[in-house]
Amino acid sequence: MPDRRIQIRSSLVLTIGLLLLTAIAVPQQALAVPSYARQTGLACEACHTVFPQLTPFGRVFKASGYTLFNTRKVQDIDQQKHSTLSLSDLPPISAMVMASTSISARANDSTSSKTSTDFPQQLSLFYAGHISDNVGAFIQITYDDQSGSIGIDNTDIRFADIAVVDGHDVIYGVSLNNNPTVQDLWNSTPAWGQPFISSPAMQGPAGGPQIEGAMAQNVAGLSAYALIDESVYAEVGVYRSALQGASVANNGGANNQIISGVAPYWRVAYEKDWGKNSWEFGALGLYAALQNPTTPAGAAINGSLQNAPTDRFLDTGLDTQYQYIDDANQITVTSSWVHEDQTLNASYGAGFASTNSDSFDTFSLNGSWFWHREVGGSLGFTSVSSSNDPIYFGTPQGSSNSSWGTAEVDYLPWLNVKLGLQYTAFFKFNGAASNYDGAGRKASDNNMLYAYVWFAY
């Protein structure tokens, strides 16, 4: 890399970084990269176009259980020469910092400020890498400034291996994870979809499909998967409630959103790679019967977890992702659609819904382009629509119908440091473009300008 570019980058980082948050010490050299890179000896660009978006090889690395390894280890074998210990001589630990400042078009209420500065917005530690020859992990522990506490974040622990079956390469494995789709390989599904970062002060529509983060960190899922010829992917699994800060086994009636039995999850996808292009089409689904549900309006049932009625959610989604990657240009376009059928026997019975049958649909289309993995940006559009149920959704207009667009420009002085400026414009919010709350507030009052710095090392 030419020295001049580094010098230019350094000065820009200093300027922009000071403008963003003077307290942040921006690294002056890319001397450190996260633990996967340290473990493999591969540069970030092997697995990422621009983090956190994965390249085709990044998907293979993930499917292979994060186990690709190329550094010294402590190890042992038994009498049959089978490996009994395979430890990295350095633990695969990484850290990540997000810090930001936000300005909304209008304060959320008469007592709040239009602006918010978050330092750190999020501070995470990862165990990310090899555990044994066929087992690897992505375990994230996060301090979140909104909760002011430290807790478990996205986690995916895998066993994986590869076999040749009838001439086909088959990567197969098992994932133990805590968020449906966190184990997925593409950026067109909820856990790793756009926007990758947004303002903590951002208003969101009432409710959302279960598969889009509603269960995150409060479930344990076990799924089996296979990736054939780096092209055909299939996965089936089940999720059970695994609450943080509470136990279903003790004082269960005080807990909400408890999965009755198990929630099945399924996923199929097909990716075609040609030249510098790749295109994926996929489908996914989740079914969950929830005991002691909480409605989007905030009404909660706190009853027995034994033989009580449930609210049942059947999510079905389609997704697609196109990528073009060469040394100069990195383009990713993703789109997804999720439909949720809601059978609200518990909420309707408790008077928390005006019908026992509601529905939810979300659609998103996002595109990003980066030049030399250094400068770039993204455009996105998201639409949410629900059935009309003022009691259940708790909105004056009766629905969650919302739509918004997001534009972002990014600068990466190094592959592990991202500076971003994002603007989100709402066209409709909870059922209306204007007076959506019955008190004169417009959807566009929620528009948000958001500047952030995000780095991992």
Binding site: T40, L68, T71, R72, D133, I162, D169
Partner: protein, 205 residues
Amino acid sequence: MRIVFVAAMAIIACAASPLAMAEETKTVVPAEAISEATSVCQDCHGPQGNSVSATFPRLNGQQADYLALQLKNFRDQKRSDPHARAYMWGMAAQLDDVTIGGLANYYADQKPTQPQTGGALAAEGKNIFMDGVDAQNIPACQACHGDHGEGNGVIPRIAGQHATYLKSQLEAFRSTLRESDVMHANTKDMTDSQIEALVSYLAND
């Protein structure tokens, strides 16, 4: 089972006989040790070196001397095109010469992928491959790479390679992104359409 890369290298090194070490690219190492080492390589280059992704070259049937030379160049950071830096500098960093010899022989012994050729573009490519283009000082590729693109010694097999990989390497030689005085001289006047034709004749994708 995937085994420690470094450990595998050590096993290969220990298993090699003094006689074999004297002739490094002919080193005979236990199949078990090779299997352990290639379990790392196959994450990108596929089982037996027959990669699925065109980002990574096929190694099956590649010339052993070429493979050994490239691995040493990666290890010693003498080959510095972007993909070499991003992928192979790290992966080759801990290889010793004996291991490199064992890996090179293993992949050279695998059945090569044959070209999948045909059509007018491939016919144009065949002409370039067999006869060169005198007006542009493009020599016949077959003079060095063999009548069937099979390579010879440190001259690589190019037949049956991924089209995208072949194309990117020809472009890299042309621009000097991948440094080779010989290949830069051979490709500097090559047009994009001639590269497309040549790749169409040689590749299998």
